[in-house]
Amino acid sequence: MTYVRKTGYLCSEELANLPGVPSEERLSRGPVAVVECAQNIPCNPCEDACPRGAITVGEEITSLPSLAGDRCNGCGLCVARCPGLAIFTVHRDYTETTALVSFPWEYLPLPQQGERVPCVGRDGAYRCDGIVQRVMTGKALDATAVVSVEVPKEYCMEVRAIDRGRGIHGAR
């Protein structure tokens, strides 16, 4: 049994083996998509989403998406298109000390640019505070916002969302 089927989230060993996750070396070369898709489910909108042909699923639509790091420029068009909300972008060297992590977000109210927010990992646990740098919305995203938070660099492969509970009705 895989870790993710037991817990609901991917562990670092599983992530390291995914064809959609960029290498350390690629992370050092600017913003890039991180496709955290680990099961052979019939789905391929990510492939169509990329104008640069950087994501390939192929003929078999249950194949795992693989990322061509050289073609990806981290634009993030794929982030809102993934029905599984499993694609993120990471700009590891956003500044000398911080990274920019972008993730899909489908809860209201939307976070505001400039807001200081508690950031969480794949397990939903608190990792660090971050600053919201951008909230992309619009018709093309079809109600899936793409939120970018600036976090300390060391958390760039850890932070995958913000805490839903920051003052949202009904949340913890």
Binding site: K6, G8, Y9, C43, T62
Partner: protein
């Protein structure tokens, strides 16, 4: 007397798709549905669908439903709502209830797209207000815009349980936990991951032991299960919750098929008792076709493709349309039934075809 070349019972994704393809082939089609609104479960599906471009992947379920209704209108398909079908007679008469009394419709072919019922669990307190199926909660939040409660326990981690838990969060409820009797999560990891990121725990090898409360649910007691799915003594744990949702599988609604004399088979992997059918969804009664969850519980994208196949085939059997479209639909179905989740369903579907051939030999 009411007449139609093809009568479709059920206006969900399978029924509407069947009606569309039959109408495209030139058949005169009438759809009846017991609900006041068409679309089956599609209009409650606010998430983006999986699949490929041909399956409208990335489109939210309700938008797919809007497209189907628009196409039905353009093609002049008659969709009659609020009419529960009561029975089918050997002469092709479909009998249904209306506000004006019982009416009937004579059809040369009948496509049953009745869908499935949600399964229930029975435990101490399962009759308390606040205990409901996951689909009921989804109807409340996405159709009626009413929260069933503030603190929800979801029982079951198939895609239904995972997706509706996420939608409950979006609607503003708290999901206190999901419990799964099996040792692993049933549905897609990507759906589970959305919940985990949102701080929702998922407990495997655990189930609900009882719901606690005087007049309504006030709490739940969970219990750990061993590898034989038996409760482990001393593992009881009480959580504060006001709602229990059950997402523990679906059973095909086969009553009308049984009335029409269709032979059945039992396939647990597809939800239980299912009318035998061939690759074009024709049952052992050559007048009757099935499509969607009645032909084996899967999901909306496969229901749409099965509906298309049944609609094309039913029209073909009346000498309408052509065979050209079937192959492409078969290929799309095969794609949806591949991979680690789909292969089991593909295998079960092949078992049905084989049993059908034996039954008809």
């Amino acid at each position: 007397m009411n007449k139609a070349q093809i009568a479709v019972i059920g206006a969900g994704p399978a029924g509407l798709s069947a009606a569309l393809e039959a109408a495209r082939a030139g058949a005169q089609v009438t759809v009846i549905d017991e609900n006041r609104k068409p679309g089956g479960q599609l209009f409650k599906q606010i998430h983006k669908f999986f699949g490929s471009r041909q399956h409208q992947a990335g489109t939210r379920g309700f938008a797919i439903g809007q497209g189907l209704l628009r196409d039905c209108e353009e093609l002049g398909v008659s969709v009659q709502l609020g009419y529960p079908a009561l029975g089918i007679f050997p002469d092709g008469r479909v009998v249904f209830n209306t506000a004006q009394g019982v009416r009937s419709l004579f059809a040369q072919r009948i496509i049953l797209a009745t869908g499935a019922n949600e399964n229930n669990l029975y435990f101490e307190g399962s009759d308390l207000p606040g205990v409901m199926t996951a689909g009921a909660a989804q109807t409340m939040i996405n159709e009626h815009r009413v929260l069933p409660g503030q603190r929800v326990l979801m029982v079951g981690t198939g895609n239904v349980g995972l997706i509706i838990s996420y939608q409950l969060l979006q609607a503003g409820a708290e999901v206190v936990a999901l419990v799964e009797a099996a040792p692993q999560i049933g549905g897609y990891a990507v759906h589970a991951s959305k919940l985990r990121r949102a701080g929702v725990p998922i407990y495997t090898s655990r189930t609900i032991h009882r719901a606690i409360g005087e007049k309504t649910v006030e709490g739940v007691e969970l219990v750990a299960l061993n590898e034989h799915f038996q409760p482990v003594p001393g593992t009881g744990e009480i959580l504060c919750a006001d709602t229990v949702c059950m997402a523990v599988g679906l059973s095909p609604m086969v009553e009308l098929a049984a009335l029409a004399g269709c032979q059945m088979t039992h396939i647990p992997a597809l939800g239980g008792t299912i009318p035998l059918h061939d690759k074009n969804l024709c049952t052992t009664n050559p007048m009757v076709y099935v499509a969607g969850d009645i032909a084996g519980v899967e999901e909306a994208s496969t229901a749409i493709e099965e509906g298309r196949l049944a609609g094309i085939a039913a029209a073909r059997s009346l000498g309408l349309g052509d065979d050209g479209r079937q192959q492409a639909v078969q290929e799309r179905l095969l794609a949806l039934r591949s991979g680690e989740f789909g292969a089991k369903r593909q295998q079960a579907k092949e078992d049905i075809l084989r049993t059908f051939k034996e039954a008809m030999a």
